[in-house]
Symmetry: C2
C-alpha cells in the first residue's frame, strides 16, 4: 500500500493512520491531502492516530507539516485519538506539535473544527433562513 | 498492528480498511465492531474499502459476516469506496455481497444510512420541536 485513503465528510477531510508512516507514504499523504483540500475546498482536516502505538520525531514533523500546509490553504488540522503512551512519548521527545489542535476522539474533533471554522453557526443561520418561509405560512 | 480502529461518527461507526485482512485481524474486527455496536447503540456501520486493491472470497465472507451480525444488532452495513476493479473481481468470483449495501463514497453511504434508519427525519422532527419556543417569541 502506498496511499492512505482520505475520506470527505461534509466540509472536512478524515484520515485514519493505521500503518507506520515511512518517507514515501508520508510524502504521498501530504500531497494527497493538500490536493484534496484544494479540490474540495475542505475547511478542516481530521487525522485519527488511535491505531498508532509508536510516535517518533518523523511522525511529529509530518503532522506539523500537514497542519502548516493546511493552514495556508485555509483549513484547520485536528489530531484525534492519541493514545496516552503516545502523548507521553511526544512530551518526552520535546515535540509540542505546534499549530496542531488535538481532541480526544473524532466526534470531539469535529465539534472543535465546527467551532474553529464557524461553520456550525453559518449552517444554523442557513437553516433558520430556510425555515422563515414556513413561519409566514403559519 | 492487530486491530483496525473503529471511529464513532454520530449514530454510525466508520471503519477504514487499509491493510490486507488476515484471519486474526478479521476476527478482531468482527468482535470489535459488534462490541462497539452494542456499547454505543450505533444504528449503522460504514466500511470504507477505497484502499483495498485486491478482494478475495475471504474478504467477501468477512464483509457478509459483519453485515449479518450488525443486522442482528439492529445496525445496517454499507460498504463504500469500492474500486471498479474490485467490483469486477467480486462479480467474476460470483460473490454478490448479500445483505451488504454499497455506496460510492462515505458521504453517500452516510446519506444511505440516514435514509435506511429514518434517523434524519427523526432529527428534523426534534429540531422542529426545539424551534417551537422561538416561534412563540416572534
Amino acid at each position: 500500500m502506498d496511499r492512505i485513503p482520505i475520506l470527505k465528510m461534509g466540509p472536512f477531510l478524515l484520515v485514519t493512520i493505521q500503518v507506520d508512516l515511512y518517507d514515501r507514504l508520508a510524502l504521498n499523504l501530504e500531497n494527497d491531502l493538500i490536493s484534496m483540500v484544494s479540490k474540495t475546498g475542505a475547511r478542516g482536516v481530521l487525522i485519527d492516530i488511535s491505531a498508532v502505538n509508536i510516535v517518533d520525531s518523523f511522525m511529529g514533523r509530518i503532522l506539523g507539516n500537514i497542519a502548516s500546509m493546511s493552514r495556508i490553504m485555509d483549513a484547520e488540522t485536528v489530531v484525534v485519538g492519541m493514545q496516552p503512551a503516545v502523548a507521553i512519548t511526544l512530551v518526552e521527545l520535546g515535540l509540542t506539535l505546534q499549530g496542531v489542535h488535538t481532541a480526544l476522539n473524532v466526534e470531539k474533533g469535529m465539534d472543535l473544527l465546527y467551532n474553529k471554522t464557524d461553520l456550525l453557526s453559518q449552517q444554523q443561520d442557513d437553516e433558520e433562513d430556510r425555515e422563515d418561509p414556513n413561519d409566514y405560512n403559519d
